[in-house]
């Protein structure tokens, strides 16, 4: 059983502190003493091959894994963005956004969040009448309305078409600049990681094997190219 505690509220302490995370599935060790810290407002992209435990880490941090071992410190206000939009089909868009948030002004904040993702006019629609990209934007609004200190995203754009994906990445970038949550973003898309993240982390064999800041490289195409090659190499995709 993982112990979950709130970190001490000092600006320099990480907002997420994961240490010695262990998880075994049917005798197979997926996480083997993994450590990971995320600073306040930091965007971390988590890459890795299939089966390397990316989603396992995210689920553990999200509190969805009851049997993971280790210590996890996370902020209380956190949201999860799933690969599917996971909207309740029997609730209108605005009710989906307010799900789990209560108190005065919640509905107004939900409407504001919907306007922020460009869906102010769709608040009364049924989720099934929206396109895939729109549904994922509603899910984004649902995450935002909780004013999260930590946003956990599990390949949220991988099911969208290429153009919608770019639009969603830009939207997420804007929203992150405005709301500044810490983000743990699981993806298998190297370009996406390089475009969005402050830091790229790779898991293999149950541990973090690569941990590199990438935001500073973004001004220089050469440095981005070098990073891309390096990351692809570590993911087992060599150029030659």
């Amino acid at each position: 059983m993982a112990s979950v505690a709130r970190p001490v509220d000092r600006p320099d302490t990480p907002v997420v502190r994961v240490s010695n995370l262990r998880r075994v599935f049917d005798g197979r060790t997926i996480l083997d003493g993994l450590d990971l810290n995320i600073a306040r407002g930091e965007f971390v992209a988590l890459l890795g091959r299939s089966g390397s435990g990316k989603s396992t880490i995210l689920r553990a941090v999200a509190g969805l894994d009851a049997v993971v071992d280790g210590s996890i410190e996370v902020p209380e206000r956190r949201s999860v963005l799933f690969q599917d939009s996971r909207l309740l089909p029997w609730m209108s868009v605005v009710d989906n956004v307010t799900l789990g948030s209560y108190g005065p002004g919640t509905r107004e904040r939900a409407k504001a969040a919907l306007r922020e993702v460009g869906l102010g006019a769709k608040e009364k629609s049924w989720p099934k009448t929206l396109s895939g990209g729109e549904q994922q934007r509603v899910a984004l609004a649902r995450s935002l309305v909780r004013d999260p200190e930590l946003l956990l995203a599990d390949e949220p754009f991988s099911a969208l078409d290429a153009l919608t994906r770019i639009r969603m990445q830009r939207l997420l970038q804007e929203l992150c600049q405005r709301h500044a949550p810490a983000v743990l973003f699981v993806t298998h898309d190297v370009e996406e990681a390089l475009r969005l993240a402050d830091r790229v982390v790779i898991t293999a064999n149950g541990r973090i094997t690569y941990d590199q800041p990438v935001a500073t490289a973004r001004g220089s195409p050469l440095r981005v190219e070098a990073l891309r090659n390096d990351i692809l190499d570590r993911l087992g995709v060599s150029k030659d």
Binding site: F82, R86, L88, P89, W90, M91, L99
Partner: protein, 282 residues
């Protein structure tokens, strides 16, 4: 070794190359319904019946024509005997159905959401399911007599089963992804039930409700035919004794209309309540 050569029959390729129109693309779905299309079948049967009896193909003693049946229906409406029997039947069916629906739903929720409930209830309902209501009547007569209580109890017990089975299956089959969502937005158990579990199980409940409504009429026939002093079934039994085929047919007609009408009501309610669904029904 022999060499086999194929010749393509002329026209084969042309057929294959024929452009595929809209009809082809839609072939997997039934065509859009036209207004009141469910009435077409029954109306066709009525027309056939009318023609057959009018032409004298069937003996009026065995099967009077629709006009004779409607005439005796009108007579029974006017002298007030019909109202008494229909009211008695409706009351039994409605009371039995209400008790069956409420108890079936409560049992399904308790068994579906708690382990103890599942252990205590589910096996019993599965056993009850395989015992026909008809077979329970002798026992119920011994316990409850031949009055209204026995009749309502038989209907309630019969309608409870489809409600229970379908609601329970829907509650158990709830999408795990929605459970996870509930966890990530920290829903309380009460809110989780209200916002996720109950709405998710409503389609199953309605399937059960439609079966239960139909069953309530079937059970009604059984209990009214065996021992009653009022009701449509009693009316039919009496008419059989006196050889009034037209009254028997009025009774059957009433059962048909009531069953069809109540199913239509449930469908309408279902469409309203589950308007978020997109399915072939819409």
């Amino acid at each position: 070794m022999s060499l086999i050569s194929f010749t393509t029959p002329s026209g084969f390729l042309q057929r294959r190359a024929k452009p595929r129109g809209q009809a082809q693309a839609r072939a997997l779905l039934p065509k859009a319904p036209f207004p009141a299309q469910r009435l077409l079948g029954p109306v066709l049967i009525l027309a056939l019946w009318y023609v057959a009896s009018g032409a004298g193909w069937i003996s009026p003693a065995k099967m009077p024509g629709p006009d004779a049946v409607i005439a005796s229906l009108a007579k029974m409406v006017v002298d007030g005997t019909l109202a008494i029997d229909v009211a008695a039947s409706l009351q039994r069916a409605a009371l039995g159905l209400s008790i069956g629906v409420v108890s079936g739903f409560i049992l399904a929720v308790v068994a579906g959401l708690t382990r103890l409930g599942d252990a205590l209830i589910d096996g019993n309902v599965q056993v009850k399911r395989s015992i026909p209501s008809l077979a329970l009547i002798p026992l119920f007569i011994i316990w409850l007599g031949i009055g209204e209580t026995m009749k309502v109890a038989i209907i309630a017990l019969g309608t409870m089963v489809p409600i229970y089975i379908n609601t329970h299956a829907a509650l158990r089959g709830i999408d795990r992804r929605f459970v996870e969502l509930g966890q990530t937005v920290s829903l309380s158990r009460a809110r989780f039930l209200r916002h996720i579990v109950f709405p998710a199980s409503l389609p199953g409940f309605f399937t059960g409700l439609r079966m239960a409504v139909t069953h309530s009429w079937t059970a009604l026939v059984v209990v009214e035919t065996i021992n009653a002093t009022s009701g449509i079934g009693f009316m039919i039994t009496q008419a059989r004794i006196y050889g009034q085929t037209d009254v028997v047919l009025v009774g059957l007609l009433l059962y048909g209309v009531l069953g069809f009408g109540s199913d239509g009501l449930v469908r309408a309610l279902e469409r309203r309540t589950l308007s978020w669904r997109q399915s072939l029904d819409q």
